[in-house]
Symmetry: C2
Subunit: 432 residues, 2 copies
């Protein structure tokens, strides 16, 4: 067999997807029910009107290629939403519909980054970002996060070098649930203006901010002429409408020129997005669907409160997430790493969580800028982990309150056992 490209060998696996498979395997092997606190897939259904609109499109033969940039009707409505809700200076022309926000991120990065170019990422991040940067042959640099996973603004400027081309922002954040205040976002935008950098703003969780309003960094440049703008804003239907499996998201490009370039890049990457689901998504943007989003936000806030009420007294929560539906629980008192803890939690208590390490791999480079990473037999290199995530696990609030409570109580139970050196009860999994 010929060899694989070096970049494909060098990218890590996504730790969330790995846990996904392990949990499935346990259930398939008859290992009992698994409490799925590892995956950020809402436990709600898409709005019924969206489902019906998608079905109607399917039945009416709206099953042909959509334009590469998406259906005109959907783009117009997304532009309107980006103007009225996010304060962007968005025209229909600037909106590109994509098959999910992962794909939107990759396409945007292809536009911004060449081999050897750098992008600033938060030190604790959604793993696909680093996979994407490495696949392009670019280099991630990490900006430090302090208390409550808020960026250390003073330290960020130092990260900007000759080859830095872009800054990634993700507020509300996956995996931390941190929401960056407007002043922080403005500081990033000022820096981008000063150093002529792109901004890639992943706003997948825009609708799930628990205190105050969501701020889109693109709104800071609404009054600038197009040629001065630099923010690519990503929105998705996945989280706001519980439509993860339908694969519809969008990019709002900062200018018509940038949108033309994006369209060109999308042709070889995906050709186009699904047509019936775009007709469904059109309906999701109706004002009548806002209360549904608000009900989901209330549920996530309630679960966040529930999680904190269980984790904090047990010494497992040292901050309160202000958005999204995650918390990075601190399990350092157990003496285990997040990876070890997650494995034992799955095996002994039937609870799946995502190890923190996967959100904090730190690729290392030699003095000549070459990525130091040799694949192991697993198919990916072993990357070192940022210490701030080594003893953490990410818990997602995408199960019912009851499941969440039970899963967290089991988590605390394992923590207690580990702290006191008590062995796992015999056949713990079977009696669970």
């Amino acid at each position: 067999m010929p060899s694989f490209s070096r970049r494909s060998e060098q990218i890590p696996f996504s730790p969330i997807r790995t846990m996904f498979r392990m949990a499935d395997e346990i259930e398939r092997a008859g290992g009992g029910h698994v409490f799925r606190l590892h995956v950020g897939d809402p436990d709600f259904a898409p709005p019924p009107r969206v489902v019906e609109a998608a079905c109607e499109a399917l039945r009416q033969g709206k099953t042909h290629y959509a334009p590469s940039v998406g259906l005109e009707e959907l783009r117009a409505k997304l532009a309107e939403k980006a103007r009225s809700r996010n304060g962007l200076a968005a025209t229909t022309e600037q909106v590109i519909v994509t098959p999910g926000s992962t794909q939107a991120l990759f396409a945007s990065m292809e536009l911004m980054l060449g081999p050897g170019d750098e992008i600033l990422l938060p030190a604790i991040y959604w793993p696909n970002y680093v996979q994407q940067v490495l696949l392009i042959g670019a280099r991630p640099r990490f900006y430090p996060l302090g208390r409550g996973y808020q960026p250390d603004l003073g330290a960020i400027k130092e990260q900007v070098g000759e080859r830095t081309r872009a800054i990634l922002l993700n507020s509300p954040s996956n995996p931390t649930g941190a929401v960056f205040p407007e002043a922080t976002l403005r500081a990033f935008h000022d820096l981008a203006l000063e150093r002529d950098l792109w901004i890639l703003s992943d706003e997948a969780y825009e609708d799930f901010v628990f205190g105050g309003a969501h701020v889109s960094p693109g709104s800071f440049e609404r009054d600038l002429p197009e040629e001065k703008r630099r923010v690519f804003t990503l929105f998705t239907f996945s989280k706001s409408y519980a439509m993860t499996g339908l694969r519809v998201a969008c990019i709002v490009a900062p200018s018509a020129r940038a949108a033309t370039m994006l369209r060109k890049v999308q042709e070889p990457l995906v050709a186009s997005s699904g047509t019936p689901v775009q007709w469904g998504s059109l309906v999701a943007l109706d004002a009548s669907e806002r209360p549904g989003i608000e009900r989901m936000r209330d549920a996530y806030r309630r679960r966040r409160d529930l999680a904190v009420s269980i984790l904090q007294p047990a010494g497992l929560a040292d901050y309160i997430p202000e958005g999204a539906f995650y918390i990075m629980a601190d399990i350092s008192s157990t003496g285990l790493t997040g990876d070890e803890f997650a494995l034992r939690l799955l095996r002994e208590e039937g609870v799946a969580v995502a190890p923190g390490s996967g959100f904090a791999l730190v690729p290392e480079y030699g003095p000549d800028g070459t990525l130091r990473a040799e694949p192991t037999s697993s198919g990916a290199p072993e990357y070192p982990t940022h210490p701030g995530a080594r003893h953490r696990v990410r818990i997602a609030f995408c199960v019912s309150d009851e499941e969440l409570r039970e899963g967290l109580e089991r988590t605390v139970r394992l923590v207690e056992r580990l702290r006191h050196g008590t062995p796992a009860p015999a056949a713990a999994r079977q009696t669970a």
Copy 2:
């Protein structure tokens, strides 16, 4: 605004998509009906059982993330299909479901090619291939096609150099409709074995071969041990089931190892494919859906015959396509290039066809291997064109027989006018 990455600037636009927009613009501007012979989007509807299965999945809440590699049930059925219909040694594990075959091609190339690596492409090719190769920073080399767009086997070996890593095969071919005989495909496979190259076999049109059976090059290595295999086979639901807008295709990787690597690359590229459409696709594979495919094949064969019967007497067809639903018409007798002809045909006769040049751009490289391509104001460089396609236009058979006949008669009418130097009738478009 910061600058765009060099690769994103250097890739060309897809000419098909450009024609798509121009045709839309003419109709929107009230320019009358356009005969759409430019796009390979079947004029049929997906099988009703597929539509109903997708709707049922939507309504039953099968709307969550699918695994990155696709639904287990669909992969198993695709593997069975690849074994029984294509003669591949395919296990479920080797099958990766993708959101369309464009995406499948890009992911496969990411696995095979690094910057500076080379891939052999047919000299007349589907444009996204070159966009993909250039976006990865790899280099296309072209193997010559002779009479009826059949490869010149003697000349192919000469194209293989130190950096050559892969060969792309596309039989039946878009845009030519050529079907490579088994002996030709075997010669390619022998060469790949001899020089340790990957093969990327795009079999989007496998079900539309008019004489004899479709041959999958992967079948040549069914009895080889996994580590000797090298063929990535791409199948799609788009053409066989008229499901272009649903975005479901798959890759059959040559080994479990290659599939693991593909899964890893798919995480940052797309995360996963749409879930409800995968449930729909599952039904498409039932034996009861074969007659529907055969009816479509009969329709395309009938239209191919119709097209040849009109184009050949007019001196516009110098070969007979044996598969897919395209013909590369020869308009050299008009003295115009394909681009000039296509523009006049659209304006004067309301017929959209795809200029041949877009299927034959030839990126040029300097002696140091650097791509010579500077973007123009359009957002893409102007690439030279292979002479074999300069005076050609691609005609697709994806409209009714009546539309096809009328569109082709109008095409012949323009050709006659051009040959005799007759001016276009006044208001030709309005009276048409």
